[in-house]
């Protein structure tokens, strides 16, 4: 009985088996890369905004405190987005004719809110609370990145659960003295020194490593 398959079929089958494995691996890597890519996570991406607001200018160069605009960050889950009125406290006096600020003035005049595109947004099933993080010595820049150096604001982290858990598992790596929470230029001590400071602060601020589900999900 003659062979059904030619000898070359052996090579073909080996090639397809190896090929399939390689292909699957590549596909998995590709999928993974997509899910962590800025295209998918919006990390490091700026968004179209009604006014090209610069945190670098306001928080960095002018040194306006974060809480001047984000008033409820110490009291509420939500840090607060400044109402048009807050912009106008200064901009009714300076840059009053700036073309760039026309949407702000229009908003103030017409009582129509400015509509910003949200940079840091979490899924609806996640309940994050600013006030407790601030109260426990987690600085703004820990999550929001070098905000005082951002001409246009972008998302500094992936905001994935693993990203949250990095800190929740080892808060000592990220915690800073309460006095430095709102300092956008704070430089944490390097390496071992941060861990040493961190462990001390974790104890002092009674920080617990909360990892159970209902901490954030409910």
């Amino acid at each position: 009985m003659p062979q059904i398959f030619h000898r070359s079929a052996n090579a073909l089958s080996r090639f397809s088996i190896i090929g399939a494995v390689v292909l699957l691996t590549l596909l998995s890597i590709a999928l993974w890369e997509i899910t962590v890519s800025p295209w998918y996570t919006y990390q490091d991406e700026t968004q179209q905004q009604p006014v090209p607001f610069s945190h670098r200018h306001h928080a960095g160069e002018l040194g306006i405190d974060c809480r001047y605009c984000h008033t409820s960050v110490e009291k509420s889950s939500f840090a607060g987005l400044p109402p048009t009125q807050t912009c106008m406290t200064c901009h009714s006096q300076i840059w009053t004719n700036s073309e760039m600020l026309e949407p702000v003035r229009t908003s103030y005049r017409t009582n129509e809110s400015l509509s910003w595109t949200r940079i840091n947004s979490l899924p609806d099933f996640v309940y994050f609370d600013h006030s407790i993080h601030v109260a426990k010595g987690i600085g703004c820049t820990t999550c929001h990145g070098p905000i005082a150096e951002m001409p246009l604001t972008y998302r500094a982290g992936t905001l994935y659960m693993s990203w949250c858990l990095d800190c929740h598992r080892q808060p000592e790596k990220y915690v800073r003295p309460k006095s430095e929470v709102f300092n956008p230029f704070y430089e944490p001590p390097s390496g071992e020194k941060q861990l040493e400071l961190g462990r001390q602060l974790v104890k002092e601020y009674k920080i617990r490593s909360l990892q159970h589900c209902s901490t954030c999900h409910r």
């Binding site: 409820s72 889950s77 939500f78 103030y108 509509s115 910003w116 099933f125 159970h212």
Partner: protein, 1018 residues
């Protein structure tokens, strides 16, 4: 020991057989606890629900066959794959232009306001999230609430967001606007000149002083104008009863906290009528056993036709036909020394020795007892109750009379009849209907619908374009109480201001504003009307008044406005006016009552309340012809038979529901159903019982005929669902705590005195800690726990609706409820004990037990349900893949699965009612009670932000606890031995459910202790 496996040995029955049920009870010695007739008859349906977490019938009969399922699955798999390719959308974020005062985004605010319940104010605190009211709580400062609420108040917020609300002014069926409406009203005002001939206004019961003053102004301006009142749920009995007894309508205020002995003459005072929320609290405080064996319990005797919430709390209850209550009242009156010329009839269904025993008990507690007559009993029964209270020295002590809280306490049935007569005589030019729906609610003999159309101009203001609205020329959308300024009086006369939580959602205006268009106040806002009225009434002027006004708004009550006690003298001649004592008419009797969940139809279009299982019957989405088991046997009627109810020429079709404890030869029907224009939710639910009511006999009538149609009508009762399986356990029917797994522990006060630890049975004394293979959890900080006092729970369902509101629990509809898929996180299990005709009734609210060794946690393959460091069984919706293993493994059956997309993701108006702190669950996700973990987290965050202080006891209250009018539910930290919950759990009555499974539940119960009169043999 032989383990009884009764349900395996025999084939199940297909339907309920009452004779078999009686035989089962006979066999079990009459001490057995049972939940439903299905259970007693061991029907196939009961077995399904009892043995399977997901009954077989829930898996089929969806109108889909296997092939369709395969197609849909293939399609959805493909879609799911595609959906993974999409990116998360970006969101917009919109700040204020000018920030309002007080609002901190992300933090709720609470405002005091009040809601009208059949005209009477109930004080509330309403939670507002970013300007939208989301949750109703009771106002602790308000005398009618003291922090408690009822299911109506809890559900009322959904009426605000009802998508079916009337949104625009409608003229002759076409779209109009407020300006045109206002100018029509202006013209009418001018044209009526100085007399107002032909002007009529129809309202419900009015306790609002502002509305009263407006109506008086109207009458002063137009002397020939008339104001009529008709509140469908009654009150005439109380008004006419006091008129008969004292010569004028008075307002009786009961002090249940002072009463040792209470006799209810068909009065469901815990569920209905002015002050019922407060009465529930006062009553349950007298069922407290914290003092141990020395505690002084009150004793409640109830006679009533239908098993009600109040009847279930009774220490002695006799089913009595509504028409026979008068005879019983006469007997009791004679027994306590009230002389009645006609004397008392020789016998009623209540044994003579029991009557004299009650009489002795009352006489032994002079000045500390109450006799209360039901709202729907005739005036003479009320007068007898007042006479008994006077004879027992209760007047001025436990029963205080004040002037009427109403602006004009008229006989409302007469008032409505006058209006109909005038309409028919063509005397009515212009009829203004404010917030009532008489075309639906009026008794059928008045034929209100056709009479109405004889008025030339008909103007209607209401929430919905309902049966009345559609027959009117003008329909003006009315404001919900959460959108308008108003005021009202509580049951004791205390004035509460209603302040709005939100600007009107549509083109709606309050009834104050609509009415003002006809008066000199035209164009005034409802705020100005209410504010200016009180400014003119109070002695404080100027700044002093403004301060008082602000305080009143803040507190929710105007201090010191409760009406003072008035001296009353019993008219000596009232007994002469008594109707001749007559032998009870033969044949069937029909009794009409407001519905326990949708009231008189006010909440017909409210999905939360439609789906709330009604007290005792646990029926949802329908009313029914409710009859007693003996009558069912006599007439050969079975559960769900579709019958015609015929009463002197009137008829209606209804499904039959057999209610244990319902009196014989009597049918009870609930009002509020069978709406023809009640909105989408209301349509198709139940039948219209008003079609059988006449204005002369609006609450009970005799001569009813029941004719079988041969058809059946599907009724969705959850009574036989979620029953806890007892298979494999030895039966011990003879014991006092008789249910086989001792779910409901009961005893009498004597038992309790003899053995305070009677609830600690053999099984829950075993120390199971050592038997676990798993190391115990350690709780360093808080450990949350709950205690539920069965002695206090009145089965009112306020907790169920509160939980629905707080936790965004979805409404599933009648069909899904029938399949056992209702989503409630807490249910009120109802148990009966004793024979079918007059059983004892027990309630057991059942939320998640938050087990220490939780069976659900071990079986979840994806870690979606896990143990928190504070002892909660966390449920993570975004992790859940819907295997339902957890639910299958839960012995308490408290987990609920979203078989479909039950939550409404599409109707914009419903977004407003959602709690922003709880995920809205999607299809394919398991959900359950979490002890309101959002409230726990909020309190923990607050306490840690505030210098890491400890959370105070009572700082966290769960939604069910907060709503409970009877204070039956207490939540707290069981690691703190001084917390309230720890102290309750330390009581000897404390026990857990199914502890033999070693689940070690965090939710435990306090056993029910009854206080029967030793002189009366049960």
């Amino acid at each position: 020991m032989k383990k009884e496996k009764m349900s395996e040995d025999t084939t199940p029955r297909n339907s309920i057989d009452l004779a078999a049920a009686r035989a089962t009870l006979e066999r079990d010695g009459g001490k057995r606890m049972w939940q439903s007739l299905d259970e007693l008859c061991d029907t196939a349906q009961f077995r399904d629900f009892s043995h399977n977490e997901f009954p077989a019938n829930a898996e089929k009969d969806d109108g889909i066959n296997r092939r369709d399922v395969m197609k849909l699955m293939a399609a959805s798999a493909a879609m799911a794959g595609l959906s993974a390719c999409t990116k998360l959308p970006t969101e917009k974020i919109v700040p204020y232009v000018r920030p309002p005062e007080e609002i901190i985004p992300g933090r709720p605010l609470f405002y005091a306001t009040s809601m009208p319940q059949a005209g009477v104010s109930l004080g509330l605190l309403v939670e507002s999230n970013m300007g939208r009211p989301t949750k109703i709580e009771g106002n602790p400062e308000h005398p009618g609430s003291q922090g408690g609420t009822d299911s109506f108040a809890q559900g009322s917020i959904l009426n605000l967001y009802d998508p079916d609300r009337l949104r625009n002014v409608v003229f002759e069926g076409g779209l109009s606007n407020w300006a045109d409406f206002a100018s029509t009203m202006d013209n009418a005002r001018v044209n009526f000149g100085t007399k107002g001939t032909g002007l009529r206004v129809l309202t419900g019961t009015v306790t609002s002083p502002t509305l009263g003053s407006q109506l008086k102004k109207l009458q002063a301006q137009f002397p020939e104008a008339k104001w009529h009142q008709y509140e469908p749920s009654g009150g005439d009995g109380v008004r006419e009863g006091t008129r008969l007894a004292f010569g004028k309508p008075m307002n009786p205020v009961y002090h249940f906290e002072l009463a040792d002995v209470i006799v209810s003459l068909d009065a469901d005072f815990l569920s209905f009528g002015p002050g019922h929320t407060r009465y529930a609290r006062d009553f349950s405080r007298r069922r407290d056993l914290a003092a141990g064996p020395d505690a002084k319990l009150n004793r409640l005797y109830v006679v009533e036709p239908m098993t009600t919430s109040t009847g279930s709390m009774a220490d002695h209850r006799w089913p009595l036909r509504a028409s026979e209550v008068e005879a019983f009242a006469r007997q009791l009156a004679v027994a306590v020394g009230v002389s009645i010329p006609g004397g008392a009839p020789a016998s009623t269904a209540v044994p003579a020795d029991a009557v004299s025993a009650i009489g002795r008990d009352l006489s032994a507690h002079r000045g500390a007892s109450i006799v209360i007559a039901g709202e729907h009993q005739p005036p003479f029964v009320h007068a007898l109750a007042h006479a008994m209270n006077a004879a027992l020295g209760n007047s001025g002590k436990t029963v205080v009379y004040t002037e009427s809280i109403e602006v004009s306490p008229v006989n409302q049935m007469d008032s409505l009849r006058d209006l109909v007569n005038d309409l028919n005589a063509g005397k009515v030019e212009f009829l203004l209907i404010l917030g009532v729906n008489p075309v639906y609610t009026a008794p059928v003999d008045l034929n209100f619908g056709s009479a109405l159309q004889k008025a030339k101009t008909r103007v209607y203001s209401g929430l919905l374009s309902d049966e009345t609205g559609v027959l009117c020329n003008w329909q003006a959308p009315a404001s919900h109480y959460l959108e308008s300024w108003s005021d009202g009086r509580a049951y004791d006369g205390t004035v509460s201001i209603t302040q709005p939580l939100i600007a009107p959602l549509y083109e709606n205006h309050s009834i104050h504003e609509v009415l003002s268009l006809l008066t000199v106040d035209t164009g005034k806002s409802s705020h100005d009307l209410v504010h200016d009225y009180w400014a003119s009434q109070r002695a404080e002027k100027g700044a002093a008044f403004e301060a008082l006004w602000q305080t009143s708004l803040h507190d929710g009550v105007m201090a010191g406005t409760a009406l003072p006690a008035a001296a009353v003298t019993l008219r000596s001649d009232f007994v002469q006016q008594a109707p001749a004592a007559q032998a009870a008419a033969g044949g069937l009797e029909i009794v009409f009552r407001p519905d326990p969940t949708i009231f008189d139809g006010e909440y017909s279009n409210n999905g939360w309340l439609q789906e709330t299982p009604k007290t005792v019957t646990r029926l949802t989405w329908d009313n029914a012809a409710m009859i007693g088991p003996a009558t069912a046997q006599k007439l050969g009627l079975a559960m769900s038979d579709y019958v015609v109810l015929r009463l002197s020429g009137m008829e209606a079709k209804a499904g039959v529901f057999i209610v244990p404890g319902h009196v014989d030869d009597c049918v009870t029907v609930h009002l509020g159903y069978g709406r023809s224009r009640g909105g989408k939710i209301a349509s198709g639910a139940g039948f219209d019982a008003n079609l059988l009511r006449t204005s002369t006999a609006p609450w009970m009538a005799s001569g009813l005929q029941i004719v079988k149609t041969g058809q059946t009508y599907a009724l969705a009762s959850v009574q036989h669902q979620y029953s806890i399986d007892f298979e494999g356990h030895p039966a011990d029917f003879a014991s006092q705590t008789a249910f086989r797994r001792d779910l409901v522990q009961i005893g009498t006060l004597d038992d309790f005195k003899k053995n305070p630890a009677f609830a600690q049975n053999e099984e829950n004394q075993v120390d199971y800690h050592a038997t676990s293979l798993y190391p115990p959890y350690k709780y360093d900080g808080y450990a949350w726990g709950m205690s539920i006092d069965l002695n206090r729970c009145i089965g009112c369902n306020a907790c169920v609706v509160a939980c629905t509101s707080e936790n965004n629990v979805a409404v599933v509809g009648k069909d899904q409820v029938a399949r056992g898929r209702a989503m409630h996180w807490v249910r009120v299990d109802t148990y009966f004990r004793g024979n079918l005709d007059a059983p004892e009734v027990y309630y057991q609210p059942l939320p998640c037990m938050q087990c220490e060794n939780a069976p659900c946690e071990y079986v979840c393959p994806v870690g979606a349900t896990t143990h928190s460091p504070e002892g909660l069984n966390d449920m993570t919706y975004n992790r859940c893949v819907g295997t339902r293993y957890c639910s299958n493994n839960c012995p308490y059956k408290v987990r609920r699965f979203n078989f479909y997309l039950y939550s409404d993701f599409n109707t914009p108006s419903l977004f407003g009612v959602r709690n922003p702190n709880v995920t809205v669950r999607s299809r394919g996700v398991m959900e359950k009670c979490t002890y309101c973990v959002q409230r726990i987290n909020a309190a923990k965050i607050r306490s840690e932000v505030e210098n890491n202080r400890t959370i105070a006891d009572g700082e966290i209250v769960t939604a069910c606890q907060q709503a409970c009018p009877a204070e039956a539910i207490v939540f707290g930290n069981i690691n703190d031995p001084n917390s309230r919950v720890s102290k309750l759990k330390a009581q000897t009555r404390n026990y857990g459910l199914l502890v033999d499974l070693n689940t070690r539940p965090r939710t435990t119960y306090l056993a029910r202790v009854r206080n029967p009169n030793p002189e009366i043999r049960a």
